[in-house]
Subunit: 109 residues, 2 copies
DNA sequence: TAAGTATTTGGCAATATGGCCAACAAGTAA
DNA sequence: TTACTTGTTGGCCATATTGCCAAATACTTA
């Protein structure tokens, strides 16, 4: 694997890694509906504000969201609108797992 | 966030997490072309066989690949053919980052 | 059976992640 | 100014990840 290929893979892995956490997926899905301030997301997630803020930093550094401070609050928004189409394939993976599980139950394994 | 939503997010995060590593992305891209044995992947990645084997275990447990032992060798294949379409959006994120970077250079920031 | 090849597993060390609390920064309002 | 609200940052701890080596397992072939 040459250096160019490695760089390509590193960049893509970084974006996926930023998405690969339940709270961060939640944030992404929520921002699909429109911008949200940190306090709203914190309320919905039910973790400490500092925790949510750090998740948002991860998403921002990965280039997935941008922020906009207005008065007291900071509003986050999705930077790339397609981000959720992205999940069609994750669904397929999950569905095929479910099928396997059903099949193994039927066979009695 | 209710229990059902949490379960949904956990399942999707798990699949993304399994993909979020350069060597595992490499494996996924390589398997798009057809099945490969562990020794071929190891050769291409240039890490220890045991390391590659563990990456494959991660992908298998996430439901992304399946394995098939034939004789001495174990061949891995993608379980879900769409897995690479999946990357259109990652590309968008990376491109928008690149644009920002170019813009900030132009402005002299 | 003995030796060789392919792969997985266990163990360990280094590093990264996630989440909480406390402290700080910035804005608003009394 | 003082007090309050919203967010971010630093510190700390528990846990997870990654990667290597060594050992074990499974097949094949001499």
């Amino acid at each position: 694997m040459d250096a160019k290929r490695k760089k390509y893979l590193d960049a893509r892995a970084k974006v996926l890694k930023a998405m690969a956490h339940p709270s961060r997926l939640f944030i992404i899905e929520e921002l699909e509906k429109g911008e949200r301030c940190v306090c709203e997301l914190t309320e919905m997630i039910g973790a400490d504000v500092s925790t949510v803020s750090k998740h948002l930093t991860v998403l921002k550094q990965a280039g997935i969201v941008t922020d906009d401070k207005r008065g007291n609050q900071v509003f986050y928004q999705l930077r790339v609108p397609c981000i959720l189409n992205f999940f069609g394939c994750v669904e397929s993976v999950l569905e095929s797992q479910a099928q396997d599980h059903a099949a193994s139950l039927a066979v009695g394994r």
